[in-house]
């Protein structure tokens, strides 16, 4: 049945080459843990992507209940966590997943570094990867404020005061990030927008570039 539906569509719009190009390619022996178990280190990039997908999914669902406003933010988080079914799990996935992404990115970076995979011709992809690392740190920083509790507030205060110490443009940077002279209503809304629209958009675009370059250049050879 499924096969016939697939054939019917494929007959008309020829989708097979599309997914073959994405999914059907050989995995070299030296990155296949089935051949050499130590090759599991090559999994961390994929695991990063997997956790990012979970972050995007759980984040989308969290915004069904979350309100980015100083009066209601904390109450809405408390409500979705304690009163909505599976709220603790969905928020837990987003909360712990955020740390897991950072750990996976770090391990992925170590693997690329120690296998020398950043060398010619893959320098641009290393740069894109570093940009992705900063975007993920930014997602972690902006997301930390959103529950609007004491920890969130003071962590953001510390973070913004660090930004303020940047020579020359420090104070401008603080005002830009806080949306004013102090951390308050405007900061929360601003961080929400950055966390939910700007950084994920940039993340997806750069991840696409990252993956396209991997397909173009192939996985780097064995050590």
């Amino acid at each position: 049945m499924l096969q016939r539906i697939y054939d019917w569509i494929d007959d008309r719009v020829d989708v097979t080459p599309l997914w073959r190009d994405v999914a059907d390619h050989e995995v070299p022996e030296h990155v296949n843990p089935g051949h050499h178990f130590s090759a599991f280190v090559y999994c961390f990039g994929g695991l990063t992507f997997f956790t990012v997908v979970i972050q995007i999914l759980s984040g989308m669902f969290l915004t069904m209940y979350y309100v980015p406003d100083i009066v209601n933010a904390h109450a809405s988080v408390e409500y979705l966590q304690s009163d909505v079914a599976y709220g603790m799990i969905v928020r837990g996935m987003h909360h712990w997943g955020a740390s897991v992404v950072i750990v996976m990115v770090f391990l992925h970076t170590l693997r690329v570094f120690f296998t020398g995979s950043y060398k010619k011709p893959r320098e641009i992809n290393w740069v894109v990867g570093v940009l992705l690392f900063f975007i993920i740190l930014g997602l972690g920083f902006t997301g930390y404020l959103l529950p609007w509790d004491m920890k969130a507030y003071f962590a953001t205060q510390v973070g913004l005061e660090i930004a303020e110490t940047v020579p020359v443009i420090g104070e401008l940077l603080y005002t830009l990030l806080a949306g004013g002279e102090f951390i308050g209503a405007q900061t929360l809304t601003r961080f929400f927008a950055i966390h939910v629209f700007f950084l994920p958009g940039a993340l997806l675009a750069l991840v696409a570039v990252h993956f396209i370059m991997i397909r173009r250049q192939g996985i780097s050879g064995p050590l």
Partner: protein, 166 residues
């Protein structure tokens, strides 16, 4: 016959990997879906009756009372106030909604000089009899809704959901 039972290595791997992958995907997606559809599965809040007026105050002439109650909206408690028309029909208390069944404006008692014994909606000149029945030839297509009602110790208690009369 025997041939059909043969499963190639490729098929076996396809089935097991699809199965395991499906379980993993379900494990990730199921909590989120349950989270999103929670409003569908929340038990309906108990419809508490609200004390609105004393039976002694009521007359045959409809009088406006405020039905005030709290509506639980997740992290927010909404203070709701609805206007209710209360009057006596013989010994029985009647509570009519003030929401016009045409397009939802608020109806008033006796404000149309030509029909002082009827409810009147100023928006499109809709009219209702005293018992709530819509006057034929005016825009409303059904009678004013009625509130569930209880009389306890000489006080009138109303439910918060007005029900259609038809």
């Amino acid at each position: 016959m025997e041939k059909n039972h043969n499963v190639s290595r490729r098929q076996f791997l396809t089935y097991t990997l699809t199965g395991v992958g499906g379980f993993m995907a379900a494990g990730v997606v199921m909590p989120m879906v349950r989270f999103a559809v929670d409003p569908l599965l929340q038990a309906d809040a108990a419809d508490d009756m609200v004390d609105v007026a004393a039976v002694d105050e009521l007359t045959e002439v409809p009088q406006a009372y405020d039905l005030e109650y709290e509506q639980d909206q997740g992290w927010h408690i909404e203070q709701v106030s609805e206007t209710v028309w209360l009057f006596l029909e013989g010994d029985e208390v009647v509570a009519l909604s003030s929401v016009c069944t045409h397009l939802g404006c608020t109806v008033n008692w006796g404000t149309d000089p030509d029909n002082p014994e009827q409810f009147f909606c100023p928006c499109h000149l809709g009219r209702f009899e005293r018992d709530g029945n819509n006057v034929p030839g005016t825009p409303p297509t059904e009678p004013l809704h009625r509130y569930p009602l209880e009389v306890r110790d000489g006080r009138v208690f109303l439910g918060t959901n007005a029900q259609p009369q038809i």
